[in-house]
C-alpha cells in the first residue's frame, strides 16, 4: 500500500471521529505547545540579550565597579553572596582611585540611585520610579539620548541644581498632552524642574531608562540620599575593547592596594562587565534547556500513552475491518503500516496544532509583556520530528497487534 493512501486513510479516520481524535492528541498538543512557546520566548530572550540588552544596559567597552555583584545565579554563588554582603560601601575616595587608575578612559562617571514610591505633577502621578543621581558623563557612558530639551551639564552638577531629565514613561504619564519641559515635578517631597526627556527605550528592560529620573549626583547627594556620599556605581568606558582587560586590572589593583587587601584575599568590591550578564544568561539558558526537555518529555510520554490506548481501542473496534482487509489481500505489513500511519498522522497533527498554539502563545505573551519572541525554524522541525517519533512509538504495539490478527477470527468478531 502506498504512503499517500495510508495518510489519506488516516486523515479519513481522524475526520470521522473528530472529538475522539482530538482528545487522543491533547497530550501531544500540550507538550509541543509548551515546548514551542518556551523555546520561542527563550530564543527571543537570547536574541535580545545578545544584541540589545547587554550593550544597552552596560554600554559597549564599559565596566562598572560596584560594592557587590548584582547578577548571581546558582547555588555555588550563595557563599560568595554572603561574603560580598560584608563589602564596604563605595565612597568618593574610591571614585578618585578608579579615576586615577584609568587615565585613558573615554568616559568616567559615578552614580547612586534610589527607588521612590512616586513622582507627581499637579494631580498626575506615576508610581515606582527610580531616581538616579549621576555625574556629568553618566548619560554619555550609558548611551542615553535626550529626545526633547537637554541633558545634564557640568553647571547643574557644580551648583547642585534641582533639575531632572525624565524617562519617556514618566513624561507620558505626567504630561499626556503638553510638553514636559520646564514643568515642575515632585519626587520624595523635593521639587525639580524638567529640563529634558530621554528617548524611549522600550523592550524587556525599558523601565531602566523609561521609568527613571536622572538628576545631578550632587543634587541627589543633598536632597534624596539617606547617607552622605552614597555611591552605588562607578562607570568606566574605555576607548577600545582591547583596553578593557588592562584597565580593569589596573582599577582592581589600585582598589586592592588602597583597601590593603593581601594577595590571595578576595576582592571586597566587584567589577561588572556586560560579559557577566551574558554569563548569567547562559547559566539560566542551560538550566532551561535541561529542565525543558524533561517537562516536554513527560507530557509527550503521557501523550504517547494516550495515543497508544486510543489505537488499541481502535484496533479492537475495527477487528472486522482488519479481517476484511486481510481477506481482500492486505499483508501483515499493510495492516502494520496502516495503523502506524494513523498513529503518526494523529500525533503529527497534534504537533502541528501544538506548534501553532505555542507560537501563538509566545506572540501573545510578547504582545502583552516585554518578553520578546523569536520563532526558531530548527525547533519547529524538531517539534515535528518529535511528534512523528511519538506517533511511531505509540503506534507500534497496536499496529503489531492488528497485523497479527487471524483473518478468520477477525471476520467473525462481533
Amino acid at each position: 500500500m502506498r504512503f499517500s493512501e495510508g495518510i489519506r486513510l488516516a486523515l479519513q479516520q481522524i475526520r470521522a471521529q473528530k472529538l475522539k481524535s482530538f482528545f487522543s492528541i491533547v497530550g501531544v498538543i500540550i507538550g509541543i505547545t509548551f515546548l514551542i512557546a518556551v523555546i520561542t520566548i527563550v530564543e527571543g530572550m537570547n536574541t535580545y540579550v545578545r544584541e540589545d540588552f547587554a550593550g544597552s544596559l552596560f554600554g559597549v567597552n564599559t565596566f562598572t565597579v560596584v560594592r557587590r555583584s548584582q547578577i548571581e545565579t546558582g547555588r555555588a554563588d550563595a557563599a560568595r553572596r554572603r561574603r560580598q554582603a560584608r563589602n564596604p560601601d563605595l565612597t568618593m575616595r574610591d571614585v578618585e582611585i578608579v579615576r586615577a587608575a584609568a587615565p585613558g578612559a573615554r568616559h568616567f562617571a559615578w552614580a547612586a540611585d534610589r527607588g521612590m514610591p512616586d513622582v507627581r505633577h499637579g494631580s498626575q502621578s506615576r508610581r515606582n520610579v527610580r531616581v538616579i543621581g549621576g555625574s556629568t558623563e553618566y548619560e554619555a557612558i550609558q548611551g542615553w539620548k535626550v529626545a526633547e530639551g537637554r541633558g545634564l551639564t557640568p553647571v547643574d552638577g557644580q551648583q547642585a541644581l534641582p533639575v531632572a531629565v525624565i524617562g519617556s514613561q514618566i513624561a507620558e504619564k505626567l504630561f499626556p498632552t503638553t510638553s514636559a519641559l520646564d514643568k515642575p515635578i515632585r519626587v520624595g517631597g523635593q521639587r525639580f524642574r524638567v529640563v529634558g526627556v530621554f528617548e524611549k527605550q522600550g523592550g524587556l528592560l525599558g523601565n531602566v531608562r523609561d521609568a527613571s529620573i536622572l538628576i545631578p549626583f550632587s543634587t541627589f547627594d543633598r536632597r534624596i540620599s539617606t547617607r552622605r556620599e552614597e555611591i552605588d556605581e562607578i562607570h568606566v568606558k574605555v576607548n577600545a575593547s582591547a583596553d578593557m582587560e588592562h584597565t580593569i586590572a589596573a582599577v582592581e589593583g589600585a582598589l586592592r592596594r588602597d583597601r590593603r587587601l593581601r594577595p590571595g584575599q578576595e576582592d571586597n568590591f566587584h567589577i561588572q562587565t556586560s560579559g557577566d550578564l551574558l554569563n548569567a544568561w547562559e547559566t539560566i539558558n542551560r538550566i532551561l534547556f535541561v529542565a525543558l526537555p524533561a517537562l516536554v518529555g513527560i507530557s509527550l510520554v503521557v501523550g504517547g500513552i494516550v495515543i497508544m490506548n486510543i489505537m488499541l481501542l481502535s484496533v479492537t473496534d475495527r477487528t472486522r475491518e482488519i479481517g476484511l482487509r486481510k481477506s481482500l489481500g492486505a499483508k501483515r505489513r499493510d495492516i502494520l503500516f496502516q495503523f502506524l500511519t494513523e498513529a503518526s498522522t494523529l500525533s503529527i497533527v497534534g504537533a502541528i496544532l501544538g506548534i501553532g498554539a505555542g507560537v501563538g502563545l509566545a506572540r501573545l505573551v510578547s504582545r502583552f509583556s516585554p518578553l520578546p519572541s523569536t520563532v526558531s525554524l530548527p525547533w519547529l522541525v524538531a517539534a515535528l520530528v518529535l511528534g512523528l517519533g511519538v506517533g511511531i512509538l505509540s503506534g507500534l504495539y497496536p499496529a503489531y497487534r492488528a497485523s497479527k490478527l487471524d483473518p478468520i477470527e477477525a471476520l467473525r468478531f462481533e
Binding site: L324, R325, K326, L328, G329, K331, R332, P407, L411
Partner: protein, 245 residues
Amino acid sequence: MTQRPTGDAIIVTRGLKKDYVMGAETVHALDGVDVEIQRNEYVAIMGPSGSGKSTLMNMIGCLDTPTAGEYILNGQPVQNLDDDELARIRNREIGFVFQTFNLLPRATALHNVELPLIYAGTPSKERRAKASAALERVQLADRMDHKPNELSGGQRQRVAIARALVNDPSIVLADEPTGNLDSATSAEIMGVFDQLQDAGQTIIMVTHEYDIAAHAQRVITLVDGKVSSHDAQIPTERFAAPVTG
C-alpha cells in the same frame, strides 16, 4: 447438469485435513476432503452445522492452511504458503462475498470496490477505472459516490460483489450471500450471480438454503468433515425446515 472432473480444474484438493485442538480433544473439522472444481463451474457447498463447510470455505479461500493434504488453486499448490503469500493469493485469485457484506461504512461504494486494487498496488487512475467498470457490471454506476448507509441491502451486496470481481479473480467465493436479505432481494442477487456465471466466472457458494443451492450446477455436500456427495440432488420443491450451518 452433471459435470464430472475433466482437465480444466481450477480447484483440486486431495486428502485435505484440518484438525483443531480444543483442550485435550482434537476435532477433525476436515477429515480427508477430495474435491475438484472446474473453471466456469457454479458449485454450492452444503452441509449441516459442524459438517466442516465453513472450514472448507476458509481453506479454499486461502484464509487458513490445512493440517494435511494438498490444495491446488489455479495450478498452484497453496497448502504450504506463508501468511503474506496467502494474502497475495487472496488478493489475486479470490473474490469474497460475505453474508454481512463487510463494506467499510465510511467509504464510498467506489472506494470499497477499489480496496483489493489498493493491496494489489494498482495505480490510482487504473484503480478508479476498474472499480467503476465493476460497479457498472452490477448496475450501480449511478451509486458510486454513495456510502453503504445510503444504499439498500441488495445494493450493498452488489457493491460487495463488484469488490469481489474487481481484481478478476479465478473464483468468487460467496458465504451465505443472501442470508441477510429478504426473498425478493435474494432473487435479485442470485440473478447477479447467474449473470456472472454466464459470463464465465467460476462461483463457489456456501449455503444452507436449497433454493439458493438450486442455482448452482452442482452441490457438494459435507457430513462430518467428509464429502458425502459430489453432486447431490436438489429437491425441486422447497423444504420446510432449512438446515442451518
